[in-house]
Symmetry: C2
Subunit: 142 residues, 2 copies
């Protein structure tokens, strides 16, 4: 084999070895028959006092089993927070390091889906966006 051809073959093999595992991870689809209790949620937020009257302006998904994923911008830490309270949204607490104005511009949050095999249907209204984001650490930051 001429020297250049040998190097070309090496480049191809290197690219395959380096990219192979990455491509595999990116393309892998989860097994439809899961051996774990599912945790899959959809979060919405909209302006208003009640979900029934508020148009959902944003909606994100969060999967926590077997690994964190979804369109939630902080899936890993949101899953960790929910695990810490065992999926009980009422048990999340407001952070004391955040200062919010008292402006009343209510935002309503909903969470639907399943946490460790148990159905979740949660709705909560916050006085304004700042108060919403101060509740928990990253769960309602989307």
């Amino acid at each position: 084999m001429p020297n250049a051809a040998r190097w070309a073959a090496t480049i191809t093999l290197t690219a395959t070895a380096v990219c192979g595992p990455l491509a595999g991870a990116a393309l892998a689809t989860p097994s439809p028959t899961a051996l774990y209790a599912p945790s899959a949620l959809v979060f919405t937020t909209g302006h208003g006092e009640f979900a029934a009257e508020a148009t959902p302006e944003r909606a994100v998904t969060l999967n926590c089993a077997p690994t964190p994923s979804g369109t939630h911008p902080a899936a890993v830490s949101a899953c960790a927070e929910l695990r810490a309270v065992n999926g009980d949204f009422e048990a999340l607490s407001a952070r004391s390091d955040v200062l919010c104005t008292r402006e009343y511009d209510p935002v309503v949050v909903t969470v639907e889906g399943v946490w460790q095999g148990k159905r979740i249907s949660y709705e909560r209204t916050f006085a304004n966006e700042c108060v919403k984001e101060s509740y928990g650490t990253t769960v309602f930051t989307y």
Copy 2:
């Protein structure tokens, strides 16, 4: 530069050029301030006649805006199907090419979340798993 060093540099550049876009796609997180109406859903399925009594055995997420994603095993085609019926789950029809037994082992499906900015809350019971999967093409195959 010696010949071997030059080739080594070429290998690194090639690997970067080939892997770069792939790594970018795998790591990209969607913008939290979306400029499109959200479409984010969570699907569950469990054995029983009513969702309130059935333990959700599987739960998957499906995002259709701006691009299909989620733990739904056929996100791209499920989104295409839902777009075709404008998110109206009642408008999905059973495929005529599937033969199912008449065995009664009911499975209940729920869909919660948002389709193009409109809240979705859907529940449907099928006589058995085969009948469920024959409804639509891939939407309920998870």
